[in-house]
């Protein structure tokens, strides 16, 4: 037997096994493109048998959250007459409702003897109770409460256990040909999850990136070629990175300007999965897309004070990790939006979780400054020492910031005083400040190991 014959036999066998008579496995293909916004494009390529003339083609196994208005079917030599999305589900009640006017078999069971009596009955109505016509008599089904089985000959055509798409087409000639069904659906989504292991001794991070797919669309997609689009074509700003109850701090310190080698779709990057995969319903699936080691990262502290903020209890500074996403000394990739989880090894060498933060879609070559939480041992106590009136519309405010460090090594805290609106000036300060913007002054305060530092600043303002 030659190779071709084997193939032919195999195809024939496969065809017999398969529910779809003409479908051969290598002709079927499913491609799914998932956007980061609960939106996916499904392209379902499969052979269809065209009988020539008008016919109805059913597509089982489409997404239960399909947006029927976006369905399109394309194949050579057919024209679409109409598309239907049947969501009439097969339930006992529907079965009975559709049987109105037709004849069913009823089996009465004698409770004492178990003896069965079979009769034919016509279903007259199903309004708040089933009314049957048996011979010349009319009765209500199970009016006496005694057991009566109702047996239907068949399931009506358009009742299905799952919503089903059907397309009526007009074919030019008889024969099987490939057709592509494409539609948009919700219920499929993805985001990125990053695992960053920070090594304190070398100030380096190892970062693994995973794309996380979720499928709640009600359908399983078998063996699909999957592409993820890092972007939300529908609306932007899905991920709000502002921590609860705190002033927003920018995470993206510098937006990158490097171009990666990833495929693009307009302004969005594409992340194709290396292998075909089965996305089961109610499944959370993760596939790796990034694995870099030994990227330099800087561990620092940040504290931002409101205008006129006095704290009677020292407040923890934020722990901040800063790293680059560029190709040199960085992660070397575009980062899709997601959650970045930081880990660190404890004294026994086991990785422990130390906090997380969401990041937005980040171009390559950016600098990210990500906060993981509060520092237990590094605290700042800002105090308004004096508030003097200089004139009708002029005030002099003396601030003292006390920074404490209970760790056994010296740290530097980026201290920010916000709210310097109007023409607020710094009259005097014990440490030179910078003004990252007109509203804010910033100091790099070094605090000795197990010690404290003080910073005094006099502001001259009109309020």
């Amino acid at each position: 037997m030659n190779v071709r014959a084997v193939l032919a036999t195999a195809c024939a066998l496969a065809a017999l096994q398969s529910a779809m008579p003409s479908a051969t496995a290598q002709e079927k293909s499913l491609a799914i493109t998932i956007y980061a916004d609960d939106l996916a494009l499904v392209q379902d390529k499969r052979p269809v048998d065209i009988t020539g003339g008008r016919q109805r083609i059913e597509f089982a196994g489409v997404s239960a959250q399909i947006r029927p208005e976006t369905v399109s079917l394309s194949a050579n030599g057919i024209s679409i007459v109409e598309q239907n999305f049947d969501f009439d589900l097969l339930t006992p009640a529907k079965l009975m409702e559709k049987a109105v006017g037709s004849v069913v078999t009823i089996v009465r069971v004698n409770p004492a003897t178990g003896q069965e009596t079979t009769e034919k009955a016509e279903v007259l109505a199903t309004n708040n109770g089933v009314v049957l016509k048996i011979g010349e008599r009319i009765e209500v089904l199970r009016d006496d409460g005694l057991p009566v089985r109702v047996i239907f000959d068949r399931v009506p055509e358009n009742l299905r256990s799952k919503p089903t798409l059907s397309v009526t087409v007009d074919g030019d000639r008889r024969g099987s040909r490939p057709a592509t069904l494409s539609y948009l659906t919700s219920g499929l989504g993805w985001r990125a999850d990053y695992v960053a292991l920070f090594d304190d001794a070398s100030s380096k991070i190892d970062v693994q990136g995973w794309v996380t797919l979720t499928n709640s669309s009600g359908t399983t997609y078998d063996n699909a070629e999957t592409t993820l689009v890092a972007g939300s074509p529908m609306r932007a700003g899905q991920y709000d990175s502002s921590p609860y109850g705190r002033p927003q701090r920018p995470q993206l310190v510098a937006a990158g300007t490097e171009t990666g080698d990833r495929e693009r779709l307009g302004d969005f990057y594409l992340y194709p999965l290396a292998e075909r995969t089965t996305i089961a319903n109610m499944q959370t699936k993760q596939v790796s897309f990034l694995d870099v080691h030994g990227v330099p990262a800087r561990h620092g502290y940040e504290f931002r004070n409101y205008w006129m903020g006095t704290q009677e209890e020292p407040q923890s500074a934020r722990t901040v990790y800063r790293f680059a996403t560029g190709s040199a000394e960085g992660l070397g990739d575009q980062l899709p939006a997601g959650v970045l989880r930081f880990y660190m090894r404890d004294k026994q060498g086991d990785p422990q979780f130390i906090g997380e933060s969401t990041i937005d879609h980040t171009p390559m070559g950016s600098t990210l400054s990500v906060s993981t939480g509060d520092a237990f041992d590094v605290k700042v106590k800002p105090v308004v020492e004096k508030r003097e009136r200089e004139g009708l519309r002029r005030w002099r405010t003396t601030m003292k910031y006390t920074l404490t460090n209970a760790t056994p090594r010296a740290v530097t805290v980026t201290l920010q005083q916000d709210g310097l609106w109007g023409d607020t000036r710094i009259q005097s300060e014990t440490l030179r400040s910078t003004r990252p913007n007109a509203d804010m002054a910033e100091w790099q305060v070094s605090v000795p190991a197990n010690g404290s530092s003080e910073l005094s600043v006099v502001f001259d303002s009109s309020y």
Binding site: V6, L7, A10, C11, A14, L90, T91, P92, L95, M96, V107, P111, G114, T126, N127, V130, V140, L141, R142, D143, P147, V150, F152, V155, S161, V195, Q208, W210, T212, S216, D222, N223, P243, M282, K285, Q286, T310, E312, S316, V339, D346, P351, Q352, F353, I354, E356, T358, S371, T372, G373, D374, F376, D377, V378, E388, R389, L392, W395, T404, N450
Partner: protein, 552 residues
């Protein structure tokens, strides 16, 4: 399917033949955990108080070590019995020599609804058993045509019928062949190996439904000059999973959490025997539930009765009331070991311990005696305000340093303060008050503030309010004179009914541009505010005045 793409006809043909099976990799179940580590993190949004056992909003990092044996080929390696609160996106699998192709968490668990769904999707044979009232059972094989909307339609050689609509006792049994459903929450990874491998794999993930709290017990010495501090860590697991012989850590400090909702585990919806309309000419029986798909007790908050987290175990305290199925385990009094974890604090429970499902566990983490303490009566006030007498707050103040027999990080928590009443044989230790601590680093000022009793009272009386100097000119169009200055005189009275002198601190809050110009007592400055330190003699009253200038 990789083979099919290799382009070799024969292989392709085989792949086609095997098509339904080849899509599935071989299932291999990893061993039960041989080692478990649980690190519990507190609810980042909870204040210093205790937690609610029925609603644990903290989380844990669970690290499980499991053994696997892999034969050449592609495998779906299953980790069964992970915590039900797992955040699947946080899972990390390490130790597989060839790496992980993909990780999956299937939310659907084995349940009646899932069985029906699987049988319907796979068109598997089911057996319908029907028992007539006289006890005779008949069996028919068939397929499930639909399980939609909670109603079940079965097709047997007899025809199409609806389940449980005839009034006869009916049930379905399913083929024992694989349904692909697991009874316990399961995480699986795909991996491919080309030789036989025995590996030790580590699986770590974050899971919700844990929390911990610090509880301090402070005992004041009879002379009131020192106190003993004992602290317990109470950690709780609200998950259904048990972690036997685990190494247990807790992490103190506030860390960022930004994972939103996690995909809940699907325990299946209940199957209702929904039938056609059942109206009769007499009455209408209610639809009958045939199964409840929810396993009892899978959601901790569904339990009835809400008990707050237990305070630290104290001999002097009455035992907690009914604990229904909860357990409280006090693990000896070996101390938890503290170490730094980045900018957080990690406490290690000394011995391996079993973290059971729905259990709270306590371990000692601090035991300091003879901590010198000052008892201060404190009040905050502001000028231009007349008040009645009110008790002053009691502050037990110390410094968190070695000199004070402390000098260790103190995580935020509740504090129960006990004092001794009576003397000699009739001395009893009684609860004097409850307060809380914030996260305190070494060398920070440490204060336990308690509500005061009626013995030491404070009141302020505004004695005079006068315009200072000539009023400034009125600006046209404005009804209020800008910058009008007022002289204010306030009198403070402190009363002490104790037979011993007490230390009092009165802190004055000044508004924008307000200044303290004169006072009977010399003020200190604290936190940018004037502070009067006054000793009130035994059974005496102290009065003093202060003058401020303020702007209208």
């Amino acid at each position: 399917m990789r083979l099919a793409r290799s382009g070799r006809y024969l292989l392709m043909a085989m792949a086609v033949l095997a098509a339904p099976a080849a899509a599935r990799a071989q299932d291999i179940t990893a061993s039960a955990p041989v080692d478990v580590s649980v690190t519990v993190y507190r609810d980042p949004y909870r204040s210093a108080g205790g937690f609610d056992l029925d609603n644990l909003n903290g989380f844990a990092l669970v690290t499980e070590t499991r053994r696997v044996v892999l034969t050449p080929g592609q495998h779906r390696l299953r980790f069964e019995g992970v915590a039900d609160g797992i955040e699947p996106a946080s899972a990390i699998v390490s130790g597989l020599p060839t790496g992980v192709i993909e990780k999956n968490r299937d939310a659907a668990l084995l349940s009646p609804a899932a069985l029906i769904e699987a049988a319907e999707a796979q068109q598997g044979r089911v057996r319908l058993s029907r028992t007539a009232p006289n006890g005779v059972t008949t069996r028919r094989d068939g397929v499930i045509r639909s399980g939609a909307d909670g109603g079940v339609v079965v097709e047997t050689p007899d025809g199409v019928e609806a389940l449980r609509c005839s009034g006869l006792q009916e049930m379905l049994s399913f083929e024992a062949s694989r349904t692909g459903l697991s009874a316990k929450p399961t995480l699986s990874v795909f991996t491919r190996v080309n030789r036989r491998i025995e590996a030790t794999v580590q699986l770590s993930y974050l899971a919700r439904g844990f929390d911990w709290a610090a509880d301090y017990v402070v005992s004041l010495a009879p002379d009131g000059r020192s106190l003993d501090v004992g602290g317990w860590i109470t950690l709780a697991n609200g998950n259904g999973a048990v972690f036997p012989g685990a190494s247990v850590q807790i992490v103190a400090g506030r860390l960022n959490r930004s994972s939103g909702e996690i995909e809940p585990i699907d325990y299946g919806r209940p199957i209702l025997a929904r039938c056609w309309p059942r109206g009769s000419t007499s009455d209408t029986p209610d639809p009958v539930y045939i199964e409840r798909a929810y396993p009892l007790g899978f959601e901790p908050w569904r339990y009835e009765g809400r008990v707050m987290a237990m305070p630290a175990p104290m001999a002097a305290m009455a035992p907690e009331g009914a604990m229904d199925d909860r357990q409280l385990i006090v693990t000896g009094s070996k101390m938890a070991q503290q170490e730094d974890l980045g900018d957080l604090k990690l406490y290690r429970v000394p011995d391996r311990s079993t973290v059971s499902s729905r259990q709270a566990k306590q371990v000692r983490f601090i035991d300091s005696t003879a901590v010198p303490v000052k008892r201060i009566y404190a009040v905050d006030t502001y000028p231009n305000n007349t008040t009645g007498f009110s008790p002053m707050e009691v502050i037990l103040r110390t410094q968190n340093d070695k000199a004070s027999n402390l000098g260790i990080p103190l995580p935020a928590g509740r504090v129960a303060v006990f004092e001794t009443a009576g003397a000699g044989a009739s001395a009893r230790r009684l609860l004097a008050g409850e307060t809380s601590l914030r996260d305190l680093a070494v060398d920070e000022e440490t204060e336990f503030s308690l509500p005061g009793g009626p013995a030491v009272q404070f009141r302020q009386v505004t004695e005079s309010r006068e315009l200072a100097g000539a009023p400034p000119p009125l600006i046209a169009g404005q009804t209020i004179r800008p910058g009008a200055r007022f002289n204010l005189a306030d009198r403070i009275e402190l009363t002490n009914a104790h037979p011993f002198p007490v230390e009092a601190e009165v802190k004055v809050y000044l508004g924008y541009g307000e200044e303290l110009v004169r006072s009977d007592r010399e003020p200190e400055q604290k936190d940018g505010r004037p502070l009067f330190r006054i000793t009130v003699p035994a059974n005496a009253t102290v009065e003093f005045r202060y003058q401020t200038v303020g702007y209208d």
